[in-house]
Symmetry: C2
Subunit: 153 residues, 2 copies
């Protein structure tokens, strides 16, 4: 057994991406955050193939991120609601959004702006909970037995 057979790193990022690491999954969650909880509405707003979206929603429900709830008996109609775990994905969505706003906005700025209840447009910033300082790559070091390379640039 040489170094070539080293096992992949076990890490929360990888585990999380196994569930939501796919375009349509996260876009479905975005839609629910925006208040669109119905299947057809999500299809229209995301542009996902109906088949694929149905599969993703099943995964998300199975993972405890969304809850499928019947809101009408005849005919049977369902809506998808965020669980606590789903609501905790909000930071992921907003940080993705901020990155896109910065690097992919065309002329005329970001295509969608959220307003925070403080009155300002939402600009999501990530801080270290302990000290309140903005998190930067160079300011963190891994604390694991698994060998790492040099700390990030």
């Amino acid at each position: 057994m040489t170094a070539a057979t080293a096992q992949p790193r076990s890490c929360s990022v990888a585990r999380t991406l196994d569930i939501v690491g796919e375009k349509w999954a996260l876009l479905a969650v975005r839609e629910v955050f925006l208040g669109n909880r119905k299947f057809d509405e999500m299809v229209r707003r995301t542009g996902a193939p109906r088949d694929t979206l149905a599969a993703r929603l099943r995964t998300l429900v199975g993972a405890g991120i969304l809850e499928r709830r019947q809101y009408c008996e005849h005919p049977a109609r369902y809506e998808y609601r965020l669980t606590d775990a789903g609501r905790d994905l909000y930071p992921v969505i907003t940080t993705l959004m901020r990155w896109g706003d910065k690097y992919l906005a065309g002329d005329g700025g970001p295509p969608m702006v959220l307003r925070h209840h403080c009155g300002h447009p939402v600009v999501a910033t990530v801080i270290c909970e302990a000290c309140g300082e903005p998190l930067e790559a160079g300011h963190t070091t891994p604390l694991t037995a698994v060998p790492q390379g040099q700390p990030a640039t």
Copy 2:
């Protein structure tokens, strides 16, 4: 033309996911953050198929997130480094990590811990840059012409 033909929402989240909305892409970026800049090392640490990783790295370089740099002439050897845009993905990675730490950690807690230079383990928190308050789904409302549903739960 009925409502059924409504165009998908144009949004920074969707645009960003077109680039990094795939498991291996983000795991490759994670590796570079951890200091592993070489192709073979990334293959080992992520577990990605070499082919797929090579394709993702090309995409990431094309998108300006990574930079492919030759560090040895004979034989030709390359490493991948983060650009400014790549470094700005750190918040995305850390928020994904926090979610996984909370919902997917098995017994014995998170598989990897980062230490912030303040001395504490990193716990990434997202705040509104304007007011400093933690961002929550219920505290934001979309400001767009595109029709939305009811605000998120």
